[in-house]
Symmetry: C2
Subunit: 85 residues, 2 copies
């Protein structure tokens, strides 16, 4: 079979990652949140991609391991991060 | 004069930003560096764009204020960050 005739296409309803951008009024509250976020990730042993500047944080959460899409555990992890705010 | 006839073009030798990627063996040393980096940025009152995951940090340093390109002060700031490693 000639595999090049086929295009891999994800299901349209598949969620491949979760991301959230959070804005802060000042660096102090941003840093405070970052510290809590890092503590939490360390405790959970799960490390999303995080980017930040003086007054913002972006968090990108991808599925772990072999899973191709975001599931319940990922939504629970995301909700727990919301709870850190 | 029809300004649309003109294309803005930076000098080829102009450095518009500095960036560095640093890899770590484990999260503990990454976190340790991030804490020192954040303390340093706070002390300097200057906040580069930083992104990180479990074992990497990316730092992007753009010119401050009206300056269009990277100068001596920016290189000094970058070197000071190297010193935190």
């Amino acid at each position: 079979m000639d595999q090049s005739l086929w295009t891999a296409r994800p299901k349209p309803d598949r969620v491949e990652w979760l991301e959230r951008r959070i804005e802060f009024d000042d660096y102090a509250s941003n840093r405070d949140f970052l510290d809590r976020l890092n503590d939490f990730c360390e405790a959970q042993g799960r490390y999303p991609d995080i980017s930040f500047g003086r007054t913002y944080v972006n968090i990108t959460l991808r599925p772990e391991g072999e899973e191709a899409s975001i599931g319940e555990a990922d939504h629970a992890f995301a909700a727990a991060i919301d709870g850190l705010l």
